[in-house]
Symmetry: C2
Subunit: 328 residues, 2 copies
Protein backbone atom coordinates (compact mmCIF):
# COMPACT_ATOMS: atom_id res chain seq x y z
CA UNK A 1 0.00 0.00 0.00
CA UNK A 2 1.28 3.42 -0.88
CA UNK A 3 1.75 6.18 1.69
CA UNK A 4 -1.12 8.55 2.41
CA UNK A 5 -0.98 11.82 0.49
CA UNK A 6 -2.39 15.29 1.05
CA UNK A 7 -2.36 18.54 -0.82
CA UNK A 8 -0.85 21.46 1.08
CA UNK A 9 -1.66 24.99 -0.06
CA UNK A 10 0.31 28.04 1.04
CA UNK A 11 -1.83 31.09 0.33
CA UNK A 12 0.32 34.20 0.23
CA UNK A 13 -0.33 37.80 -0.70
CA UNK A 14 1.68 37.52 -3.92
CA UNK A 15 1.93 33.76 -4.65
CA UNK A 16 -0.18 30.68 -4.01
CA UNK A 17 1.99 27.61 -3.71
CA UNK A 18 0.69 24.06 -3.46
CA UNK A 19 2.19 20.63 -3.32
CA UNK A 20 1.43 16.95 -2.95
CA UNK A 21 2.93 15.75 0.30
CA UNK A 22 3.45 12.28 1.75
CA UNK A 23 2.76 11.39 5.38
CA UNK A 24 6.51 11.30 5.87
CA UNK A 25 6.85 14.90 4.74
CA UNK A 26 8.16 14.39 1.24
CA UNK A 27 6.90 16.78 -1.40
CA UNK A 28 6.19 14.83 -4.59
CA UNK A 29 5.21 17.76 -6.75
CA UNK A 30 4.63 21.49 -6.41
CA UNK A 31 2.86 24.14 -8.44
CA UNK A 32 2.40 27.84 -7.92
CA UNK A 33 0.49 30.78 -9.38
CA UNK A 34 0.50 34.47 -8.67
CA UNK A 35 -2.28 35.30 -6.20
CA UNK A 36 -3.50 38.37 -8.07
CA UNK A 37 -4.99 39.47 -4.79
CA UNK A 38 -6.02 42.79 -6.30
CA UNK A 39 -8.87 41.03 -8.15
CA UNK A 40 -10.62 40.16 -4.89
CA UNK A 41 -11.58 36.95 -3.08
CA UNK A 42 -13.58 35.17 -5.83
CA UNK A 43 -10.74 35.49 -8.32
CA UNK A 44 -8.20 34.31 -5.75
CA UNK A 45 -10.35 31.32 -4.77
CA UNK A 46 -10.69 30.36 -8.44
CA UNK A 47 -6.92 30.41 -8.77
CA UNK A 48 -6.55 28.25 -5.66
CA UNK A 49 -9.12 25.80 -7.05
CA UNK A 50 -7.35 25.62 -10.40
CA UNK A 51 -4.05 24.89 -8.68
CA UNK A 52 -5.60 22.14 -6.54
CA UNK A 53 -7.39 20.64 -9.57
CA UNK A 54 -4.14 20.42 -11.47
CA UNK A 55 -2.42 18.61 -8.63
CA UNK A 56 -5.41 16.37 -7.92
CA UNK A 57 -5.79 15.49 -11.59
CA UNK A 58 -2.57 13.63 -11.47
CA UNK A 59 -2.93 11.78 -8.15
CA UNK A 60 -6.62 11.97 -7.52
CA UNK A 61 -7.57 8.81 -5.70
CA UNK A 62 -4.68 8.75 -3.31
CA UNK A 63 -5.22 12.21 -1.82
CA UNK A 64 -6.75 12.15 1.67
CA UNK A 65 -7.58 15.85 1.87
CA UNK A 66 -6.52 19.43 1.39
CA UNK A 67 -4.78 21.62 3.97
CA UNK A 68 -4.51 25.39 3.60
CA UNK A 69 -2.25 27.86 5.34
CA UNK A 70 -3.80 31.30 5.08
CA UNK A 71 -2.92 34.73 6.39
CA UNK A 72 -5.35 36.22 8.91
CA UNK A 73 -7.19 34.74 11.82
CA UNK A 74 -8.73 31.35 11.07
CA UNK A 75 -11.70 30.29 13.18
CA UNK A 76 -12.30 26.83 14.51
CA UNK A 77 -15.57 26.28 12.66
CA UNK A 78 -15.78 25.89 8.93
CA UNK A 79 -12.31 27.08 8.12
CA UNK A 80 -13.36 30.74 8.13
CA UNK A 81 -10.58 33.13 7.18
CA UNK A 82 -10.99 36.55 8.78
CA UNK A 83 -9.46 39.82 7.60
CA UNK A 84 -6.22 38.45 6.18
CA UNK A 85 -3.68 41.23 5.69
CA UNK A 86 -2.45 41.58 2.08
CA UNK A 87 -5.64 40.05 0.62
CA UNK A 88 -7.81 43.06 -0.22
CA UNK A 89 -11.57 42.57 -0.07
CA UNK A 90 -11.36 39.49 2.15
CA UNK A 91 -13.56 40.14 5.15
CA UNK A 92 -14.74 36.75 6.40
CA UNK A 93 -14.48 33.97 3.84
CA UNK A 94 -15.49 30.34 4.61
CA UNK A 95 -12.54 29.05 2.61
CA UNK A 96 -12.67 25.57 4.19
CA UNK A 97 -16.32 25.04 3.31
CA UNK A 98 -15.96 26.42 -0.20
CA UNK A 99 -13.10 24.07 -1.05
CA UNK A 100 -14.62 21.06 0.70
CA UNK A 101 -17.76 21.46 -1.38
CA UNK A 102 -15.82 21.94 -4.58
CA UNK A 103 -13.54 18.92 -4.21
CA UNK A 104 -15.59 16.62 -1.98
CA UNK A 105 -12.56 16.08 0.24
CA UNK A 106 -11.77 16.94 3.88
CA UNK A 107 -10.29 20.43 4.07
CA UNK A 108 -8.40 21.93 7.00
CA UNK A 109 -7.49 25.58 7.29
CA UNK A 110 -4.91 27.11 9.59
CA UNK A 111 -3.18 30.45 9.97
CA UNK A 112 -0.04 30.50 7.81
CA UNK A 113 2.40 31.15 10.66
CA UNK A 114 0.81 28.32 12.63
CA UNK A 115 1.04 26.04 9.58
CA UNK A 116 4.76 26.79 9.25
CA UNK A 117 5.23 26.13 12.98
CA UNK A 118 3.47 22.78 12.58
CA UNK A 119 5.73 21.95 9.63
CA UNK A 120 8.90 22.69 11.61
CA UNK A 121 7.45 20.64 14.46
CA UNK A 122 6.69 17.60 12.31
CA UNK A 123 9.39 17.67 9.66
CA UNK A 124 11.92 20.39 10.47
CA UNK A 125 14.07 21.94 13.16
CA UNK A 126 11.45 21.28 15.85
CA UNK A 127 11.04 17.55 15.22
CA UNK A 128 10.81 15.78 18.58
CA UNK A 129 10.61 19.07 20.48
CA UNK A 130 7.33 19.28 22.41
CA UNK A 131 7.57 23.00 23.23
CA UNK A 132 8.94 25.83 21.14
CA UNK A 133 8.25 29.28 19.90
CA UNK A 134 8.36 29.59 16.13
CA UNK A 135 9.04 33.01 14.66
CA UNK A 136 8.60 34.12 11.07
CA UNK A 137 11.01 36.99 10.64
CA UNK A 138 10.21 38.68 7.37
CA UNK A 139 8.07 41.60 6.22
CA UNK A 140 6.54 41.46 9.66
CA UNK A 141 7.33 39.35 12.71
CA UNK A 142 4.81 36.55 13.11
CA UNK A 143 4.84 33.45 15.15
CA UNK A 144 3.35 30.20 16.30
CA UNK A 145 3.49 28.38 19.62
CA UNK A 146 4.02 24.62 19.74
CA UNK A 147 2.94 23.46 23.18
CA UNK A 148 2.95 19.83 24.29
CA UNK A 149 3.48 18.86 20.65
CA UNK A 150 0.42 20.72 19.37
CA UNK A 151 -0.13 24.14 17.91
CA UNK A 152 -1.45 26.51 20.60
CA UNK A 153 -4.07 28.64 18.91
CA UNK A 154 -5.53 30.54 21.85
CA UNK A 155 -9.25 31.07 22.52
CA UNK A 156 -9.90 32.66 19.13
CA UNK A 157 -7.02 31.41 17.02
CA UNK A 158 -4.87 34.52 17.31
CA UNK A 159 -2.06 33.27 19.56
CA UNK A 160 1.64 33.60 18.81
CA UNK A 161 1.84 37.29 17.95
CA UNK A 162 5.33 37.77 19.29
CA UNK A 163 5.83 40.57 16.75
CA UNK A 164 3.42 42.73 18.69
CA UNK A 165 5.07 42.44 22.05
CA UNK A 166 6.20 45.89 23.16
CA UNK A 167 9.95 46.14 23.71
CA UNK A 168 10.11 49.93 24.09
CA UNK A 169 6.97 51.85 25.01
CA UNK A 170 8.20 55.00 23.26
CA UNK A 171 9.51 53.17 20.20
CA UNK A 172 8.44 53.68 16.60
CA UNK A 173 4.81 53.41 15.55
CA UNK A 174 3.91 49.91 14.39
CA UNK A 175 1.53 49.00 11.61
CA UNK A 176 -0.81 47.63 14.32
CA UNK A 177 -1.23 51.07 15.89
CA UNK A 178 0.91 50.41 18.96
CA UNK A 179 4.30 51.96 19.63
CA UNK A 180 7.49 49.98 20.14
CA UNK A 181 6.36 46.50 19.03
CA UNK A 182 9.38 44.38 18.21
CA UNK A 183 8.06 44.22 14.63
CA UNK A 184 8.35 48.02 14.43
CA UNK A 185 12.08 47.63 15.06
CA UNK A 186 13.03 44.49 13.16
CA UNK A 187 10.33 43.77 10.55
CA UNK A 188 11.71 44.05 7.02
CA UNK A 189 10.13 47.39 6.24
CA UNK A 190 11.29 49.05 9.45
CA UNK A 191 14.70 47.49 9.33
CA UNK A 192 15.26 48.67 5.75
CA UNK A 193 14.02 52.13 6.66
CA UNK A 194 16.35 52.28 9.61
CA UNK A 195 19.28 51.24 7.44
CA UNK A 196 18.43 53.90 4.86
CA UNK A 197 18.34 56.58 7.54
CA UNK A 198 21.65 55.56 9.00
CA UNK A 199 23.33 55.23 5.64
CA UNK A 200 21.97 58.65 4.78
CA UNK A 201 23.71 59.97 7.89
CA UNK A 202 26.96 58.13 7.22
CA UNK A 203 27.18 58.08 3.41
CA UNK A 204 30.64 56.53 3.38
CA UNK A 205 29.17 53.01 3.63
CA UNK A 206 30.35 52.06 0.20
CA UNK A 207 29.65 48.35 0.31
CA UNK A 208 25.92 48.70 0.91
CA UNK A 209 25.62 51.49 -1.66
CA UNK A 210 27.59 49.48 -4.19
CA UNK A 211 25.23 46.51 -3.79
CA UNK A 212 22.21 48.64 -4.61
CA UNK A 213 23.95 50.82 -7.22
CA UNK A 214 23.46 53.83 -5.01
CA UNK A 215 19.66 53.35 -4.91
CA UNK A 216 18.70 53.48 -1.23
CA UNK A 217 15.19 52.23 -1.98
CA UNK A 218 16.65 48.87 -2.91
CA UNK A 219 18.15 48.32 0.52
CA UNK A 220 16.58 45.35 2.24
CA UNK A 221 17.73 42.84 4.87
CA UNK A 222 19.28 40.48 2.31
CA UNK A 223 21.40 43.39 1.05
CA UNK A 224 22.43 44.20 4.61
CA UNK A 225 23.40 40.56 5.15
CA UNK A 226 25.46 40.51 1.96
CA UNK A 227 27.10 43.82 2.81
CA UNK A 228 27.87 42.68 6.34
CA UNK A 229 29.43 39.48 5.07
CA UNK A 230 31.53 41.58 2.69
CA UNK A 231 32.84 43.52 5.70
CA UNK A 232 30.50 46.50 5.86
CA UNK A 233 30.55 47.62 9.48
CA UNK A 234 27.34 49.66 9.49
CA UNK A 235 25.35 46.81 7.93
CA UNK A 236 26.74 44.50 10.59
CA UNK A 237 25.83 46.97 13.33
CA UNK A 238 22.27 47.36 12.08
CA UNK A 239 21.74 43.60 11.91
CA UNK A 240 23.26 43.02 15.35
CA UNK A 241 20.99 45.69 16.76
CA UNK A 242 18.00 43.98 15.12
CA UNK A 243 18.99 40.60 16.57
CA UNK A 244 19.45 42.14 20.00
CA UNK A 245 16.00 43.72 19.84
CA UNK A 246 14.37 40.51 18.64
CA UNK A 247 16.05 38.79 21.58
CA UNK A 248 14.30 41.14 24.03
CA UNK A 249 10.86 40.01 22.89
CA UNK A 250 11.98 36.38 22.75
CA UNK A 251 13.23 36.52 26.35
CA UNK A 252 9.91 37.94 27.54
CA UNK A 253 8.01 35.19 25.74
CA UNK A 254 10.28 32.44 27.13
CA UNK A 255 9.87 33.81 30.67
CA UNK A 256 6.09 33.88 30.32
CA UNK A 257 5.77 30.42 28.76
CA UNK A 258 8.68 28.67 30.51
CA UNK A 259 9.96 27.67 27.07
CA UNK A 260 13.59 26.93 26.10
CA UNK A 261 13.57 26.69 22.35
CA UNK A 262 13.03 29.27 19.61
CA UNK A 263 13.06 28.41 15.91
CA UNK A 264 13.36 31.25 13.44
CA UNK A 265 12.07 31.06 9.88
CA UNK A 266 10.97 33.65 7.33
CA UNK A 267 12.97 35.70 4.83
CA UNK A 268 15.34 37.38 7.27
CA UNK A 269 16.15 34.09 9.02
CA UNK A 270 18.75 33.52 6.29
CA UNK A 271 20.84 36.21 8.02
CA UNK A 272 24.48 35.38 8.83
CA UNK A 273 25.34 33.47 11.98
CA UNK A 274 26.50 36.61 13.83
CA UNK A 275 22.87 37.78 13.86
CA UNK A 276 21.87 34.58 15.65
CA UNK A 277 24.70 35.14 18.09
CA UNK A 278 23.30 38.61 18.79
CA UNK A 279 19.84 37.15 19.38
CA UNK A 280 21.25 34.46 21.69
CA UNK A 281 23.32 36.94 23.69
CA UNK A 282 20.31 39.18 24.15
CA UNK A 283 18.08 36.25 25.17
CA UNK A 284 20.63 34.88 27.65
CA UNK A 285 21.06 38.31 29.23
CA UNK A 286 17.34 38.68 29.80
CA UNK A 287 15.78 35.29 30.57
CA UNK A 288 15.35 34.15 34.15
CA UNK A 289 18.23 32.24 35.74
CA UNK A 290 16.85 28.68 35.29
CA UNK A 291 16.43 29.32 31.55
CA UNK A 292 19.85 30.88 30.92
CA UNK A 293 21.82 27.66 30.33
CA UNK A 294 18.98 26.02 28.40
CA UNK A 295 17.59 28.70 26.09
CA UNK A 296 18.30 27.90 22.44
CA UNK A 297 17.68 29.94 19.30
CA UNK A 298 18.06 28.01 16.05
CA UNK A 299 17.23 28.33 12.36
CA UNK A 300 14.18 26.79 10.77
CA UNK A 301 15.17 24.14 8.24
CA UNK A 302 12.23 23.94 5.84
CA UNK A 303 12.64 27.33 4.17
CA UNK A 304 9.74 28.35 1.96
CA UNK A 305 8.38 24.80 1.84
CA UNK A 306 7.20 25.11 5.45
CA UNK A 307 3.82 26.51 4.39
CA UNK A 308 2.99 23.61 2.05
CA UNK A 309 4.27 20.98 4.49
CA UNK A 310 2.42 22.41 7.47
CA UNK A 311 -0.80 22.73 5.52
CA UNK A 312 -0.52 19.10 4.40
CA UNK A 313 0.21 18.02 7.97
CA UNK A 314 -3.21 19.37 8.98
CA UNK A 315 -4.63 16.45 7.00
CA UNK A 316 -1.92 13.84 7.37
CA UNK A 317 -1.25 14.08 11.10
CA UNK A 318 -4.22 13.35 13.36
CA UNK A 319 -2.38 14.79 16.37
CA UNK A 320 -2.18 18.26 14.85
CA UNK A 321 -5.73 19.28 15.82
CA UNK A 322 -6.06 22.03 13.25
CA UNK A 323 -8.61 24.73 13.15
CA UNK A 324 -11.36 24.76 10.62
CA UNK A 325 -11.30 21.15 9.51
CA UNK A 326 -14.31 20.64 7.29
CA UNK A 327 -15.38 17.07 6.64
CA UNK A 328 -17.52 16.31 3.62
Amino acid sequence: MSEELAIGVDLGGTTVKAGIVTAGGNILQTKSVSTQAEHGPSAVIERIEKLISELLGEQHNEVAGIGIGSPGVVTLDGGMVKYPPNLPGWTEIPLGEVLARKFDLPVAVENDANAAAIAESRFGAGKGEPNFLFIIWGTGVGGGIIMDGKIYRGPSGGAGEIGHMTIDPDGPLCNCGNRGCVEAFVGQRYLSQRAIERIGEARQQEKILELVNGNLDRIEPAVLSAAAEAGDILAREILIEAGTKLGIAIASALNLLDFRLVIIGGGISAAPEFVYEAIRTSVRERVLTPLKPEARVIRATLGNMAGILGAAALILDPTVSPSGRVKT
Copy 2:
Protein backbone atom coordinates in the same frame (compact mmCIF):
# COMPACT_ATOMS: atom_id res chain seq x y z
CA MET B 1 -22.75 12.64 53.78
CA SER B 2 -20.65 15.65 54.58
CA GLU B 3 -18.72 17.58 51.96
CA GLU B 4 -15.14 16.58 51.21
CA LEU B 5 -12.50 18.60 53.06
CA ALA B 6 -8.86 19.44 52.40
CA ILE B 7 -6.18 21.37 54.18
CA GLY B 8 -4.72 24.24 52.19
CA VAL B 9 -1.34 25.62 53.26
CA ASP B 10 0.01 28.97 52.06
CA LEU B 11 3.75 28.99 52.71
CA GLY B 12 5.06 32.54 52.68
CA GLY B 13 8.39 34.11 53.53
CA THR B 14 7.05 35.67 56.74
CA THR B 15 3.86 33.72 57.56
CA VAL B 16 2.54 30.21 57.04
CA LYS B 17 -1.23 30.20 56.80
CA ALA B 18 -3.38 27.11 56.66
CA GLY B 19 -7.06 26.36 56.59
CA ILE B 20 -9.63 23.61 56.32
CA VAL B 21 -11.54 24.08 53.10
CA THR B 22 -14.70 22.47 51.73
CA ALA B 23 -15.08 21.31 48.13
CA GLY B 24 -17.32 24.33 47.61
CA GLY B 25 -14.54 26.68 48.65
CA ASN B 26 -15.67 27.55 52.15
CA ILE B 27 -12.95 27.96 54.73
CA LEU B 28 -14.08 26.34 57.97
CA GLN B 29 -11.09 27.25 60.07
CA THR B 30 -7.71 28.94 59.63
CA LYS B 31 -4.50 29.05 61.60
CA SER B 32 -1.20 30.77 60.99
CA VAL B 33 2.32 30.95 62.39
CA SER B 34 5.33 33.05 61.58
CA THR B 35 7.57 31.20 59.12
CA GLN B 36 10.83 32.02 60.91
CA ALA B 37 12.51 31.36 57.61
CA GLU B 38 15.86 32.46 59.04
CA HIS B 39 16.05 29.16 60.96
CA GLY B 40 16.30 27.16 57.73
CA PRO B 41 14.22 24.45 56.04
CA SER B 42 13.95 21.86 58.85
CA ALA B 43 12.61 24.41 61.30
CA VAL B 44 10.16 25.77 58.75
CA ILE B 45 8.92 22.27 57.87
CA GLU B 46 8.40 21.53 61.57
CA ARG B 47 6.27 24.64 61.86
CA ILE B 48 4.24 23.63 58.81
CA GLU B 49 3.74 20.15 60.29
CA LYS B 50 2.62 21.57 63.62
CA LEU B 51 0.11 23.83 61.89
CA ILE B 52 -1.29 20.93 59.85
CA SER B 53 -1.44 18.68 62.94
CA GLU B 54 -3.47 21.24 64.82
CA LEU B 55 -5.98 21.55 62.00
CA LEU B 56 -6.10 17.79 61.39
CA GLY B 57 -6.55 17.06 65.06
CA GLU B 58 -9.95 18.60 64.98
CA GLN B 59 -11.29 17.17 61.69
CA HIS B 60 -9.02 14.26 61.11
CA ASN B 61 -11.09 11.62 59.37
CA GLU B 62 -12.83 13.93 56.97
CA VAL B 63 -9.72 15.41 55.40
CA ALA B 64 -8.94 14.05 51.91
CA GLY B 65 -5.47 15.49 51.63
CA ILE B 66 -3.13 18.43 51.98
CA GLY B 67 -2.37 21.06 49.34
CA ILE B 68 0.57 23.43 49.60
CA GLY B 69 1.26 26.66 47.80
CA SER B 70 4.98 27.37 47.97
CA PRO B 71 7.26 30.03 46.56
CA GLY B 72 9.82 28.86 44.02
CA VAL B 73 9.63 26.42 41.17
CA VAL B 74 7.76 23.24 42.03
CA THR B 75 8.54 20.15 39.97
CA LEU B 76 6.02 17.64 38.74
CA ASP B 77 7.46 14.70 40.62
CA GLY B 78 7.34 14.37 44.36
CA GLY B 79 6.35 17.94 45.12
CA MET B 80 9.94 19.16 45.01
CA VAL B 81 10.33 22.83 45.89
CA LYS B 82 13.35 24.43 44.18
CA TYR B 83 15.14 27.58 45.26
CA PRO B 84 12.20 29.48 46.70
CA PRO B 85 13.03 33.17 47.09
CA ASN B 86 12.66 34.46 50.66
CA LEU B 87 13.27 31.01 52.19
CA PRO B 88 16.99 31.00 52.99
CA GLY B 89 18.75 27.63 52.87
CA TRP B 90 16.07 25.98 50.74
CA THR B 91 17.82 24.50 47.75
CA GLU B 92 15.70 21.54 46.60
CA ILE B 93 13.31 20.21 49.22
CA PRO B 94 10.90 17.28 48.55
CA LEU B 95 8.20 18.99 50.57
CA GLY B 96 5.40 16.86 49.11
CA GLU B 97 7.07 13.58 50.02
CA VAL B 98 8.05 14.75 53.49
CA LEU B 99 4.50 15.76 54.39
CA ALA B 100 2.87 12.74 52.73
CA ARG B 101 5.05 10.44 54.83
CA LYS B 102 4.38 12.41 57.98
CA PHE B 103 0.58 12.52 57.69
CA ASP B 104 -0.15 9.46 55.53
CA LEU B 105 -2.37 11.58 53.30
CA PRO B 106 -2.19 12.65 49.64
CA VAL B 107 -0.18 15.84 49.34
CA ALA B 108 -0.09 18.18 46.36
CA VAL B 109 2.38 21.02 45.96
CA GLU B 110 2.11 23.95 43.60
CA ASN B 111 3.85 27.26 43.11
CA ASP B 112 2.11 29.93 45.23
CA ALA B 113 1.20 32.23 42.35
CA ASN B 114 -0.23 29.25 40.47
CA ALA B 115 -2.18 28.21 43.57
CA ALA B 116 -3.69 31.69 43.86
CA ALA B 117 -4.56 31.61 40.13
CA ILE B 118 -6.29 28.26 40.65
CA ALA B 119 -8.23 29.70 43.59
CA GLU B 120 -9.48 32.67 41.56
CA SER B 121 -10.35 30.25 38.77
CA ARG B 122 -12.39 27.93 41.01
CA PHE B 123 -13.84 30.24 43.62
CA GLY B 124 -13.07 33.85 42.73
CA ALA B 125 -13.06 36.44 39.98
CA GLY B 126 -12.15 33.87 37.32
CA LYS B 127 -14.94 31.40 38.04
CA GLY B 128 -16.31 30.12 34.73
CA GLU B 129 -13.53 31.79 32.75
CA PRO B 130 -11.49 29.19 30.84
CA ASN B 131 -8.59 31.49 29.94
CA PHE B 132 -7.04 34.28 31.94
CA LEU B 133 -3.80 35.73 33.11
CA PHE B 134 -3.56 36.08 36.89
CA ILE B 135 -1.14 38.63 38.28
CA ILE B 136 0.09 38.97 41.85
CA TRP B 137 1.04 42.61 42.19
CA GLY B 138 2.94 42.99 45.44
CA THR B 139 6.57 42.94 46.52
CA GLY B 140 7.29 41.53 43.09
CA VAL B 141 5.08 40.90 40.11
CA GLY B 142 4.21 37.22 39.80
CA GLY B 143 1.63 35.43 37.81
CA GLY B 144 -0.19 32.32 36.75
CA ILE B 145 -1.81 31.32 33.48
CA ILE B 146 -5.18 29.59 33.44
CA MET B 147 -5.56 27.96 30.03
CA ASP B 148 -8.57 25.88 29.01
CA GLY B 149 -9.62 25.83 32.66
CA LYS B 150 -6.32 24.44 33.93
CA ILE B 151 -3.17 25.96 35.30
CA TYR B 152 -0.53 26.20 32.59
CA ARG B 153 2.75 25.29 34.25
CA GLY B 154 5.12 25.13 31.28
CA PRO B 155 7.66 22.37 30.66
CA SER B 156 9.38 22.81 34.02
CA GLY B 157 6.72 24.52 36.14
CA GLY B 158 8.04 28.06 35.73
CA ALA B 159 5.37 29.59 33.48
CA GLY B 160 3.53 32.83 34.19
CA GLU B 161 6.47 35.11 34.94
CA ILE B 162 4.84 38.22 33.57
CA GLY B 163 6.87 40.29 36.05
CA HIS B 164 10.01 39.53 34.09
CA MET B 165 8.79 40.62 30.72
CA THR B 166 10.96 43.51 29.52
CA ILE B 167 9.00 46.71 28.93
CA ASP B 168 11.99 49.00 28.46
CA PRO B 169 15.38 47.53 27.54
CA ASP B 170 17.26 50.39 29.19
CA GLY B 171 15.04 50.48 32.29
CA PRO B 172 16.11 49.96 35.90
CA LEU B 173 17.99 46.86 36.99
CA CYS B 174 15.65 44.14 38.24
CA ASN B 175 16.30 41.71 41.05
CA CYS B 176 16.49 38.95 38.41
CA GLY B 177 19.53 40.55 36.78
CA ASN B 178 17.73 41.86 33.69
CA ARG B 179 17.04 45.51 32.93
CA GLY B 180 13.60 46.98 32.45
CA CYS B 181 11.42 44.08 33.63
CA VAL B 182 7.95 45.36 34.48
CA GLU B 183 8.63 44.26 38.08
CA ALA B 184 11.56 46.69 38.18
CA PHE B 185 9.09 49.49 37.52
CA VAL B 186 6.00 48.52 39.48
CA GLY B 187 6.99 45.96 42.13
CA GLN B 188 6.45 47.31 45.64
CA ARG B 189 10.10 47.95 46.36
CA TYR B 190 10.77 49.78 43.10
CA LEU B 191 7.53 51.69 43.22
CA SER B 192 8.22 52.91 46.75
CA GLN B 193 11.76 53.85 45.76
CA ARG B 194 10.49 55.79 42.80
CA ALA B 195 7.99 57.63 44.95
CA ILE B 196 10.68 58.51 47.47
CA GLU B 197 12.89 59.92 44.73
CA ARG B 198 10.13 62.01 43.24
CA ILE B 199 8.94 63.28 46.61
CA GLY B 200 12.53 64.14 47.37
CA GLU B 201 12.56 66.27 44.25
CA ALA B 202 9.22 67.89 44.94
CA ARG B 203 9.10 68.14 48.74
CA GLN B 204 5.83 70.06 48.77
CA GLN B 205 3.83 66.82 48.64
CA GLU B 206 2.41 67.31 52.04
CA LYS B 207 -0.21 64.61 52.06
CA ILE B 208 2.21 61.74 51.47
CA LEU B 209 4.70 63.16 53.96
CA GLU B 210 1.93 63.68 56.52
CA LEU B 211 0.87 60.03 56.22
CA VAL B 212 4.38 58.80 57.02
CA ASN B 213 5.17 61.55 59.53
CA GLY B 214 7.89 62.82 57.26
CA ASN B 215 9.68 59.44 57.22
CA LEU B 216 10.29 58.64 53.56
CA ASP B 217 11.28 55.07 54.37
CA ARG B 218 7.72 54.34 55.36
CA ILE B 219 6.36 55.18 51.93
CA GLU B 220 4.79 52.15 50.30
CA PRO B 221 2.07 51.59 47.73
CA ALA B 222 -0.73 51.57 50.33
CA VAL B 223 0.44 54.98 51.50
CA LEU B 224 0.47 56.21 47.92
CA SER B 225 -3.07 54.91 47.45
CA ALA B 226 -4.26 56.63 50.63
CA ALA B 227 -2.51 59.87 49.69
CA ALA B 228 -3.93 59.77 46.17
CA GLU B 229 -7.43 59.23 47.49
CA ALA B 230 -6.91 62.20 49.80
CA GLY B 231 -6.11 64.34 46.75
CA ASP B 232 -2.32 64.13 46.54
CA ILE B 233 -1.49 64.73 42.90
CA LEU B 234 2.02 63.28 42.88
CA ALA B 235 0.87 60.04 44.52
CA ARG B 236 -1.85 59.80 41.89
CA GLU B 237 0.66 60.41 39.11
CA ILE B 238 3.03 57.75 40.39
CA LEU B 239 0.27 55.15 40.64
CA ILE B 240 -1.12 55.99 37.20
CA GLU B 241 2.36 55.64 35.75
CA ALA B 242 2.69 52.25 37.47
CA GLY B 243 -0.65 51.09 36.10
CA THR B 244 0.31 52.27 32.63
CA LYS B 245 3.57 50.35 32.78
CA LEU B 246 1.91 47.20 34.08
CA GLY B 247 -0.50 47.53 31.15
CA ILE B 248 2.40 47.40 28.68
CA ALA B 249 3.46 43.95 29.87
CA ILE B 250 -0.15 42.78 30.07
CA ALA B 251 -0.79 43.82 26.46
CA SER B 252 2.27 41.88 25.27
CA ALA B 253 1.11 38.79 27.15
CA LEU B 254 -2.45 39.05 25.81
CA ASN B 255 -1.13 39.42 22.24
CA LEU B 256 1.09 36.38 22.63
CA LEU B 257 -1.54 34.17 24.26
CA ASP B 258 -4.66 35.51 22.52
CA PHE B 259 -6.18 36.05 25.96
CA ARG B 260 -8.86 38.62 26.91
CA LEU B 261 -9.00 38.55 30.69
CA VAL B 262 -6.55 39.64 33.36
CA ILE B 263 -7.22 39.25 37.09
CA ILE B 264 -5.04 41.18 39.49
CA GLY B 265 -4.41 40.08 43.06
CA GLY B 266 -1.63 40.74 45.58
CA GLY B 267 -1.07 43.58 47.99
CA ILE B 268 -1.08 46.45 45.50
CA SER B 269 -4.26 45.19 43.82
CA ALA B 270 -6.19 47.05 46.54
CA ALA B 271 -5.22 50.26 44.72
CA PRO B 272 -7.98 52.74 43.88
CA GLU B 273 -10.07 52.29 40.77
CA PHE B 274 -8.20 55.00 38.85
CA VAL B 275 -5.15 52.70 38.83
CA TYR B 276 -7.22 50.00 37.13
CA GLU B 277 -8.42 52.59 34.64
CA ALA B 278 -4.79 53.42 33.88
CA ILE B 279 -4.01 49.73 33.34
CA ARG B 280 -7.04 49.30 31.09
CA THR B 281 -6.22 52.36 29.00
CA SER B 282 -2.65 51.16 28.54
CA VAL B 283 -3.79 47.66 27.60
CA ARG B 284 -6.40 48.91 25.12
CA GLU B 285 -3.87 51.18 23.46
CA ARG B 286 -1.43 48.34 22.93
CA VAL B 287 -3.32 45.11 22.24
CA LEU B 288 -4.04 44.01 18.70
CA THR B 289 -7.27 45.25 17.13
CA PRO B 290 -9.39 42.10 17.66
CA LEU B 291 -8.60 42.19 21.38
CA LYS B 292 -9.28 45.91 21.95
CA PRO B 293 -13.03 45.69 22.59
CA GLU B 294 -12.72 42.47 24.59
CA ALA B 295 -9.69 42.91 26.86
CA ARG B 296 -10.72 43.12 30.52
CA VAL B 297 -8.66 43.84 33.61
CA ILE B 298 -10.42 43.12 36.91
CA ARG B 299 -9.64 42.71 40.59
CA ALA B 300 -9.13 39.35 42.25
CA THR B 301 -11.84 38.71 44.83
CA LEU B 302 -10.28 36.24 47.27
CA GLY B 303 -7.70 38.55 48.85
CA ASN B 304 -5.17 36.83 51.06
CA MET B 305 -7.29 33.68 51.28
CA ALA B 306 -6.42 32.81 47.67
CA GLY B 307 -3.32 30.87 48.71
CA ILE B 308 -5.17 28.58 51.14
CA LEU B 309 -8.10 28.07 48.76
CA GLY B 310 -5.91 27.31 45.76
CA ALA B 311 -3.77 24.89 47.75
CA ALA B 312 -6.88 23.06 48.96
CA ALA B 313 -8.25 22.97 45.40
CA LEU B 314 -5.19 20.93 44.39
CA ILE B 315 -6.73 18.13 46.46
CA LEU B 316 -10.44 18.83 46.12
CA ASP B 317 -10.70 19.46 42.39
CA PRO B 318 -9.62 16.55 40.19
CA THR B 319 -9.55 18.81 37.11
CA VAL B 320 -6.81 21.00 38.53
CA SER B 321 -3.96 18.65 37.54
CA PRO B 322 -1.47 19.99 40.04
CA SER B 323 2.19 19.47 40.11
CA GLY B 324 3.83 17.29 42.65
CA ARG B 325 0.87 15.30 43.87
CA VAL B 326 2.22 12.61 46.13
CA LYS B 327 -0.08 9.70 46.87
CA THR B 328 0.56 7.61 49.93
